[in-house]
């Protein structure tokens, strides 16, 4: 998808400060957000001192998140994919958005299987770090719906 460089610049200017702040607030290792086909990712270099890699963080032009996959880090180990328990159309719970808090065992989504809602519950507590689907998407059994990042014992 062709992208207007100016618009991308505006996007980064407006988004990055918000994302950096969100990193501090949540204690997440990384936040990624998609707007108008561009993916902006802010990653904390060190878990204690979150910084955005200036001037611009990862900004891809309509790229796929997988293309930017890095080697496993401490942050990856704290990440837990939440997977679909059925094949059908997914509906995410209202609090499932990047930065949203999830308690272990809570209902995070339902999968509509011929009109029957099949529950998806979180195996771990944590904060939503990355969404892999949107409400209404068709999903297969075992598909990763979103990534949860745990933020230390007892916080949630």
């Amino acid at each position: 998808m062709p992208h207007n460089t100016e618009r991308l610049g505006d996007l980064i200017d407006s988004l990055v400060p918000v994302l950096v702040e969100r990193l501090h607030e949540t204690g997440l290792g990384e936040i990624e957000i998609e707007r108008d086909g561009a993916i902006v990712r802010v990653r904390a270099e060190d878990l204690n001192t979150p910084v955005a890699s200036a001037p611009a963080p990862t900004a891809q032009r309509g790229g796929t998140p997988a293309a930017a996959a890095a080697a496993p880090s401490a942050a990856d180990e704290r990440r837990h994919p939440v997977r679909s328990t059925a094949v059908g159309f997914v509906k995410l719970a209202p609090d499932i958005h990047v930065g949203g808090k999830v308690a272990k065992g809570s209902l995070v989504a339902t999968v509509d299987v011929l009109g029957v809602d099949v529950e998806v519950r979180a195996d771990h507590g944590g904060i939503v770090a990355k969404l892999r689907c949107a409400t209404g998407d068709p999903v297969e059994y075992g598909q990763e719906l979103f990534l949860l990042e745990s933020v230390g014992e007892g916080k949630l």
Binding site: A86, V87, V113, L114, P138, E140, Y141, G142
Partner: protein, 458 residues
Amino acid sequence: MIKRVLIANRGEIALRILRACRQLGIEAVVAYSEADRESRAVLVADEAICIGPADAKRSYLSAPAVISAALATGCDAIHPGYGFLSENAAFAEAAAAHGLTFIGPSAEVLERFESKAGVRALLAKHGLPTIPGSDGVVADETAAAKAAAKIGYPVILKASAGGGGRGMRVIQNADDLAQLFSLCTQEAQAAFGDGSLYLEKYLVDTHHVEVQIAVDKAGTALHFGERDCSVQRRHQKLVEESPSTALTPKVREEFLARAAKAIGAAGYRNLGTLEFLVGPDGKPYFIEINCRIQVEHPVTEAVTGVDLVALQIRLAAGELMPMTQAEVERRGHAIEFRLTAEDPAQEFRPQAGEITTFRSPSGPWVRFDSHLYAGYEVPPYYDSLLAKLIVWGNTREEAIARSRAALLEVEIDGVATTRDFFLGLLETPSFLNGTATTGMLDAIGTADILAAAPKARA
């Protein structure tokens, strides 16, 4: 018009259906369980969707999962293959209710042909001879004993909802019946969710001969010749061939024409197979119908040149029969060998594990339908079929000679297979002279057949 098919099966038949779809210019999506993520059909498909865990009840046998997968991938039809949901009327009905074309008979037709006891009576009415048996389902042990006494022992007790060679027991005398009736009822209830039983006279030295038929929506019914599936182990087919050595030309043509006529008149639609036993009198007696594509369909494809899976899809899409009976020419002789992950030296014990070497045979008139590749892990959860070798020749002798050559080329390492059993079978006089009956393996024994196999290169 069918545009996009969900293939709701696995193994070699998923590949076979995928090939038919591609040939017809129809898109296909392969539905798979977690255990089949690395299966060849999934790797080869343009699109695949995981429908559940390894447990078939939650994947290949789950009607909601399969239909939901079809809707999630934008399919307008489902091909169920064989086994699993292929003859399930409730599934066909649910698929139709969601606007999906079920590639097979409609729910209504499946329902009519669901009860084995009922179908026996229905087709007898339309002129097919049946083996003497109970008048439909037997209500209880007393009724069974009465029917058995009238027919004469031995009898075979069958689950009315059974299939695939399961849910049957040979009863030698009244004492056996008293002992086994309630056990059989329980087994049928557990296996098929329906404990109804019926019984038939048990014929010992029979050929199992079946007729491939197809019927379009207008009721035009054709046959595509017969297959002889007499080499069986515990009612499971091992080798199939066409034509049958048990029928004289005169009996054959009359029998095939009568079968096609009866099934059309009885209201059957789409592809199906009528199974018969040919007794020592050389006459076929109807036993049951299979409302699906069968494992051994390539034997018929080899002698007729008709692509049965493509025909099945076209008929399901509402097309009329694209040929006449006169245009179905049968030529030469074809044999199929079912190579399974079973160890014939150990009572055909099922095997699972990684395929370390895989070399498929080739050559003129040799077809090898298999989902294997080196490195593939045979999962322990499903049917043990690994590959089907189908060989054609101008004569039965030529087909047999070609089969030997092809079997010698097959190399599958990592799991024990039935290859050497077949090599031995091809040296066994009763198979070579075409007199092998369903009781053959009991009479000869697996060990002797294995011993007859040519020694492998050291």
